[in-house]
């Protein structure tokens, strides 16, 4: 931390959190955050901090999600829910342009350029902060940047909340994405909070990661000023609780280069095994915070004088995703699951310079039949390892 002032770490209470939502709304932001609805913690527009899921936790397993009341009344003691921030940054359906044909046959093309909402995201988990960075790279980092995504993203104010209660399907430690965030101006967030609950009370250790973050933080009512013994104690408690969370990951990836593992297991028998269980329903890709694929739909109306082009979330599990002349290239479930996993963990590195997986565990939870990405990677590793150890000296089938 070099920039003076921004290192100001302060402690706010529940009233401070309420003020944070108020300040962000007053600044014209659409505040999105977690709230309990329909038996899950979903993301929704918040008018006040009272809508945060105080007193709700979650029970997670492969193909299983249950909301559980928490007596401690914590707001952020839950892990990844059914949605991710791509719901807002990379919406499921976006019109790209529309065209009108006039009476004389002349065609007028109109690009869609509605101003992007000015979002504030409250409760971004560290794994999801990384997921946003990955989508930034994918959608704006190359030659064909998506300007609409960039507008939504550039205007977004991110409030990270570190993880203190990981779920049974979490493995951010394996992927190096959590449960805490770094400190400083280049971490990608505007504010970082850590929820602390102990004998000294329910409070949040807060620090700024940008100039605007510092500006907002300065407007919030503080429980304890910087440098006081109590503030230091809160910071220490917060750090300890994040460290403890790192030791309570429910899942882990095999500690090998997953990129090399994927490249070396293309012919593994395990793909047949997982294909027999896979519904090819597409839930994993829709729930994944980094899956970005879209399809293009051109529509016309009955008159034929009005046409529109829409971009819609698609999935490599959709048979028509790989439809070329004559039919789909990846017809079998095996080929589609393998495409997804080898891209996510392997070729993503070649294409975008990082893994496509952040260890949030959503694909495990929201798979209706509970296919577990960590279990599949471990099985591929076990199978490939035994081949490498075989007397033939590593010949692959």
């Amino acid at each position: 931390m070099t920039d003076s002032g921004r290192s100001a770490a302060v402690v706010i209470g529940k009233d401070g959190l309420a003020a944070l939502v108020e300040v962000l709304v007053e600044r014209g932001r659409t505040v999105i955050g977690p709230t309990a609805r329909d038996g899950a913690i979903v993301l929704a527009e918040l008018a006040s901090a009272e809508q945060l899921p105080y007193g709700w936790g979650v029970e997670l397993e492969a193909g299983h999600y249950r909301l559980r009341p928490r007596e401690d009344g914590m707001a952020f003691a839950h892990s990844a829910g059914p949605q991710s921030w791509k719901t807002y940054l990379h919406p499921q359906r976006v019109r790209q342009w529309s065209a009108e044909r006039g009476p004389g046959g002349e065609v007028t093309l109109r690009a869609d350029s509605d101003p992007a909402p000015s979002y504030a995201f409250l409760g971004v988990r560290p794994c999801d902060l990384r997921a946003i960075a990955i989508q930034d790279r994918v959608l704006t980092g190359g030659t064909y940047a998506d300007p609409a995504y960039r507008d939504r993203r550039d205007g977004a104010f991110l409030v990270v909340v570190e993880c203190t209660d990981p779920g049974a399907t979490c493995f951010c430690v394996s992927m190096g994405t959590g449960p805490g965030v770094g400190e400083g101006d280049d971490e990608g967030y505007d504010l970082a909070l850590t929820e602390v609950l102990d004998d000294a009370g329910h409070r949040f250790w807060a620090r700024a990661g940008s100039a605007e973050g510092a500006e907002v933080l300065a407007l919030l009512p503080r429980q304890q000023g910087l440098g006081t013994v109590a503030a230091e104690a809160t910071a220490t408690a917060a750090r300890e609780s994040v460290t403890a969370a790192a030791g309570r990951m429910g899942r882990s990836m095999p500690p090998v280069s997953l990129q090399r593992l994927m490249a070396g297991s293309l012919d593994a028998k395990r793909w047949d095994d997982v294909a027999a269980r896979c519904l090819t329903c597409g839930n994993c890709t829709m729930a994944c915070p980094t899956c970005f694929c879209t399809t293009t739909e051109d529509v016309t109306d009955l008159t034929g004088d009005h046409a529109e082009r829409w971009s819609t979330w698609d999935s490599c599990f959709d048979l028509d995703f790989s439809h070329l002349h004559g039919g789909p290239v990846r017809e079998s479930a095996r080929s589609r699951y393998r495409q997804w996993l080898t891209h996510k963990l392997g070729t993503w590195h070649d294409q975008f310079g990082s893994s496509g997986c952040v260890g949030c565990g959503r694909c495990i939870v929201w798979c209706p039949v509970g296919i577990d990405i960590t279990e599949e990677a471990a099985a591929l590793h076990a199978e490939t390892w035994s081949m490498l150890e075989s007397p033939e000296g590593g010949a692959r089938p």
Partner: protein, 263 residues
């Protein structure tokens, strides 16, 4: 002679709900009638004009010898034939007879069984004549019907997805009823198109759009069991409006066979 393409709507064994969907396009009916000549549509008008027709929409399944003849005639007088709804695309609810003895039904249901002249099976139109496009649903979705007609008029392929209902739940932000509530749901094997209405109201999908293009029933059935269904329940769930759709029929028949072989 009108310059507009001629549209015909036909009905075989069905409840009329799918062709009613066309009349339900209230806001678009004027635009539609400006672009097509609705030549033959008995539910809307008893004045039926002569063929041939550019686009025929066919509702209903083939359950009689007369209908088996009639669908051949319809095909012969139609440039493009689109089947609409579960009856026309999969045989409908009346295809439950395909898993039973139609003679028994006839004797049990009708006071004068000899008045009833019917085939032993209810079959989709595609089992009798070539079909250009099948629009799913019980009933079909209004917007999808307009898309099929608009696409026909523009000479393009209809933008109708063949993937699962799960895509639609996730896109609209519906919390998965199977994962979060333990509710049995056919969404992962069911053809999209309804917009995932039932899960949005906390109910499981009951498959009224029939199987998606890529199903794995043997993988889903154990999940339905852990959500509280026994094999008979699963057979019932699969045997509704799309009972005779190949993927559903194969799975329900296999379950019945396994049940029968259990001592």
């Amino acid at each position: 002679m009108s310059a507009n393409p001629k549209l015909a709507v036909w009905k075989l064994a069905s409840c009329d709900g799918c062709q009613l969907t066309l009349l339900d396009c209230e806001d678009e009916l004027l635009a539609l009638s400006g672009k097509v000549e609705i030549t033959h549509f008995l539910e809307a008008s008893s004045a039926a004009g002569p063929g041939p027709y550019d686009l025929s929409l066919v509702e209903g399944s083939v359950t009689t010898v007369a209908d088996a003849e009639r669908i051949r005639h319809i095909r012969a007088v139609s440039r493009r034939l689109v089947t609409i709804g579960a009856c026309a695309t999969a045989g409908g609810i009346q295809a439950l007879r395909n898993f039973a003895d139609v003679e028994e039904f006839r004797a049990a249901v009708y006071a004068r069984p000899d008045y009833i002249d019917t085939l032993a099976t209810s079959t989709p139109v595609s089992a009798h004549v070539p079909v250009d496009f099948e629009l799913r649903g019980c009933p079909i979705d209004r917007r999808q019907l307009l898309e099929v007609i608009s696409a026909h008029l523009a000479g393009r392929k209809p933008g109708i997805s063949r993937h699962s209902v799960c895509f639609e739940c996730k896109r609209r932000g519906t919390v998965c009823v199977t994962v979060a509530h333990g509710t049995p749901c056919l969404g992962p094997v069911t053809h999209a198109g309804c917009g995932a209405i039932c899960p949005a109201y906390g109910r499981g999908c009951y498959g009224c759009f029939g199987p998606s293009a890529s199903t794995n029933l043997p993988a889903l059935i154990p999940r339905l069991r852990t959500n509280g269904l026994d094999d008979r329940d699963v057979v019932r769930l699969l045997r509704t409006f799309n009972a005779y759709a190949p993927d559903f029929a194969e799975a329900s028949t296999a379950l019945e066979r396994d049940e029968g072989s259990t001592p």
